[in-house]
């Protein structure tokens, strides 16, 4: 009898596992996948929402455009990954284009014999017009960074950096090989900053002219980015034509009760306190290593934060969850608000949450205990739906709202060094985006 029971349990578990695997994930992270990547270091220009346009050096996918940041490389655990780098950098004036390279922190990268470039300080480099090939085995799943190991003070500032995601053998809905690292949504937050003086000088006079300045030593950024875009561009679609060198966006979305994996990469030189409004997240890994006391334990050394301390060159995987539990009022409203607010809350699985909508049933039909001021007394935000309830649109004065068509709950996710929420003297902007918690049933592509 016991054996049969175990068999049934295993079968049920297996079925659940299969269902989990078929849930589409990874849509939130744009990148290129495979085992062989051809990257080209080349020039381009980034646009900032204050009207700025700055020269960058970026990694391109093959013959594509330079990207700020470089392409996100998505690989599977165990894969032997080859990255061939071509140096197509050009510089202004009579100067010589620099060598360029890639380092892969967290991986044991080697240079391929036969295409080993020339020696550099941190790694082997590609000379102008030349190539170099690196290879590493993606042994450990997790979030990593890659960047130029050549004249890094300048070349990182110019944009030669990117992210690597190694998917675990458990499947694409897991961050690591443990059940407690499962997620429904995942997003990359590659944080960087920019000192435009460097870019302007390199564009006009070439990189050798940096020697006449103290710009690198006295780095003073005035622009801040998530995935290469400054707010509000962070919230535009990925791949929009007006940002050809900044193809990635940052627009996290989820449903109540889901787990959202934040892959946070310190891509620049500064620390950033990345504050995610809404609720805590659980930091499960640093630099591609699960916070566990022994292999197989799962993230038993994880802890919860409301602000993620992102450090330069470091990565953090943290799982965000929002349920609305214990608010003391019903996020879907009460019948007193109108007939469209009639809804049920049913839980058969033992938790306090509705089995399909994930509503917190003890708060079911509890009204908001205070009255909101009238329209004339309020200033409205662009992401306000006009209603305090989830998934509903309320009336707003003409010209207000409009950025939240599904009536989701929106939360600012941003650097809490508030100065970094500006674009060169203009607020708001910079290292900022909005999370949208969509009502159950609203599709998230």
């Amino acid at each position: 009898m016991r054996i049969i029971k175990t068999v049934i349990q295993v079968t049920v578990l297996g079925a659940v596992f299969m269902i989990l695997l078929t849930v589409s994930a990874g849509a939130g992270i744009n990148g290129i996948s495979g085992t062989t990547f051809n990257l080209t270091a080349t020039t381009g220009h980034v646009s900032t929402p204050d009207g700025g346009s700055y020269l960058i050096w970026g990694y391109a996918n093959g013959a594509g455009l330079a990207q700020y940041p470089g392409p996100t490389l998505v690989v599977n655990q165990g894969a032997l990954v080859t990255v061939k780098l071509t140096n197509s950098l050009t510089v202004a004036g009579t100067g010589v284009a620099p060598n360029v390279s890639i380092v892969f922190p967290g991986h044991q990268a080697k240079v391929l014999p036969g295409n080993s470039g020339v020696p550099g300080v941190l790694t082997r480099e590609a000379i102008p017009g030349g190539t170099v090939s690196y290879q590493f085995k993606a042994t450990n799943p997790g979030t990593y960074t890659y960047y130029s190991g050549t004249d890094s003070a300048l070349q990182l500032e110019m944009g030669l950096f990117g992210a690597i995601i190694v998917r675990p053998s458990s499947g694409s809905n897991f961050a690591y090989n443990h059940q407690d690292t499962r997620f429904e949504q995942e997003y990359l937050f590659l944080l960087s900053e920019m000192d435009p003086r460097v870019h302007q000088r390199v564009e006009q006079f070439g990189p050798e002219s940096m020697a006449a300045t103290d710009y690198l030593a006295n780095f003073f950024p005035v622009l801040w980015f998530i995935n290469g875009r400054a707010a509000p561009d962070t919230m535009s679609d990925a791949g929009v034509p007006w940002l050809p060198n900044q193809p990635y966006n940052s627009m996290p979305r989820m449903h109540p009760g889901e787990k959202l994996l934040m892959r946070i990469v310190g891509g620049g030189r500064d620390l950033h306190p990345f504050h995610h409004h809404g609720s805590h997240s659980r930091v499960i890994a640093r630099d591609g290593r699960l916070l566990q006391s022994a292999p197989g334990r799962g993230p038993d050394l994880s802890h919860e934060v409301f602000t993620v301390q992102s450090q330069p060159g470091s990565t953090i995987d943290t799982i965000f969850e929002w349920t609305g539990k214990g608010l003391g009022w019903d996020i879907y409203g009460t019948p007193a608000e109108g007939p469209e607010f009639v809804h049920t809350c049913t839980t058969n699985d033992g938790d306090d949450f509705d089995d399909t909508t994930f509503e917190y049933c003890p708060d079911h039909y509890q009204p908001i205990p205070v009255q909101l001021p009238i329209t004339q007394e309020l200033t409205f935000g662009g992401f306000y739906s006009g209603s305090p309830f989830l998934g509903l649109l309320g009336s707003l004065p003409p010209g207000e709202g409009g950025l939240n068509p599904n009536g989701g709950y929106t939360y600012m996710w941003h650097s809490h060094t508030e100065k970094e929420m500006t674009n060169y003297d203009i607020f708001p902007g910079g290292m900022m985006t909005m999370l949208v918690i969509e009502a159950p049933g609203v599709p998230i592509p």
Binding site: L301, T307, T323, G328, F383, Y409, Y411, E418, D425
Partner: protein, 412 residues
């Protein structure tokens, strides 16, 4: 029927009527929403007002401007919050003047009024925008953002982009059911880089329900704890909120003189703990009121830490710095970090991850709960120091021997 009883009945009837009125007219100008409160002062003190339950808490804050004095004597113009609790906004006698705007004008304090809550509280915070007297050209709305409160709903999260903010001359009551103990903070989120640099920042913490239940830890009995630890290991004798912040004097001067604000060049030169630079941090009293705001006390919070030998001192350290990270170090005594970001520092299976350290590093929006054990043999009068090891910030503007530092003094 005695006169007294009659009066009580009238008061109760009136109370019910007025509270109905309060709800009905809650959305007109300045009004406080606080259950059981009749005269709109966010207190239960007159006319038979009854606090419906010990877990109902009310507060009335004003949002406006004011002045503070740096430790080197420099006067700084600020935006900030003031405590307007106790001023009737709904006077029963119609002849009584509504004094909220008068009281709130130029009354901003730095840091903002301390908010202390208990786990399980239902917190009604009314925010009244009293306007900026020195900047009549501005008509900024304001909000309260409870930084770190879990399971927040946008309507009460205070992010103007995501929901609503309150205009001048009106009130908005925030409701939050406080389910989780820990060290949080609060600030205005409207034009955050500006309003926060200008000083709309405050301490906020929540005490756990375990308080009052005695636990023996290391052969001492405690009844106050940082979290519901189940074993008394976060027990303490005294607690002190310590908030890291700093001002860019040029930014404040530009704001006061209606000049363009230097966001890009923002560089803080007045590092502070709880709104003061050393040695003002160790002044146990409120700093004397500046003349510029009409003589209203604007820096009430001392950072002087005192405790007897053998006592455990809880530091609720938070940062709302707008421009950079700071490291705070304890000289002479070490700290045990038991919590971070309003969570007990334990793994999901309860594994203890407390650690001993002499320094903690916080960026804006981070918090740490650190317990200092005063040595049992410490002589009364012994001084230890809590100071930033970003040593160039041990200054008040151009004046040395100041800045982000305070003292831990062993009491008799």
């Amino acid at each position: 029927m005695t006169t007294k009883l009659k009066y009580t009945i009238i008061a109760v009837f009136l109370g019910g009527f007025m509270s109905m009125l309060t709800v009905r007219s809650a959305n007109a100008g300045i009004s406080v929403q606080c259950p059981g409160d009749i005269d709109g002062d966010a207190k239960w003190d007159t006319m038979g007002e009854v606090q419906p339950s010990p877990n109902i808490k009310c507060l009335h804050l004003g949002a406006g401007d004011g002045f503070v004095t740096m430790a080197d004597g420099l006067s700084q113009y600020i935006f900030g919050f003031s405590d307007l609790t106790g001023i009737p906004t709904n006077p029963v006698n119609p002849a009584d003047p509504v004094t909220v705007m008068e009281e709130g004008m130029l009354a901003a304090t730095f840091p903002a009024p301390l908010i202390v809550l208990d786990e399980g509280d239902e917190f009604y915070l009314t925010l009244t925008n009293v306007g900026m007297a020195i900047r009549p050209d501005l008509f900024d709305p304001h909000t309260v953002h409870y930084h770190g409160f879990p399971q927040a709903a946008p309507i009460f999260d205070g992010v103007p982009d995501a929901s609503i903010s309150i205009n001048m001359g009106s009130s908005l009551t925030y409701y939050y059911k406080v389910n989780d103990p820990g060290t949080y903070m609060y600030h205005c989120h409207v034009e955050a880089a500006e309003h926060m640099q200008m000083g709309m920042l405050g301490n906020l913490y929540v005490r756990p329900v375990q308080n009052g239940t005695p636990y023996v830890y290391k052969s001492k009995t405690y009844d106050k704890f940082v979290y519901n630890d189940g074993d008394g290991s976060t027990g303490y004798d005294q607690e002190y909120p310590i908030q890291i912040g700093s001002f860019d004097s040029e930014f404040h001067n530009a704001s006061a003189s209606v000049q363009p604000l230097p966001f890009a060049l923002m560089l803080d030169d007045y590092p502070m703990l709880n709104g003061r630079g050393y040695p003002d941090t160790i002044n146990p009293d409120p700093l004397s009121a500046p003349a510029e705001n009409g003589g209203k006390v604007s820096q009430p919070e001392s950072s002087l830490i005192t405790g007897a030998a053998g006592e455990r001192i809880l530091l609720r350290i938070s940062s709302l710095d707008v421009t950079r990270f700071f490291t705070l170090a304890s000289m002479g005594v070490s700290m045990t970090v038991v919590g971070m970001d309003a969570k007990l520092l334990r793994g999901p299976d309860g594994k203890n991850m407390y650690y001993k350290t002499n320094s903690v590093t916080l960026g804006g929006g981070e918090s740490v709960d650190a317990i200092i054990d005063i040595p049992a043999d410490a002589a009364p009068g012994t001084r230890y120091f809590l100071y930033t090891t970003n040593l160039n910030y041990l200054a008040n503007g151009t004046e040395a021997y100041g800045g982000m530092m305070t003292e831990i003094v062993v009491s008799i």
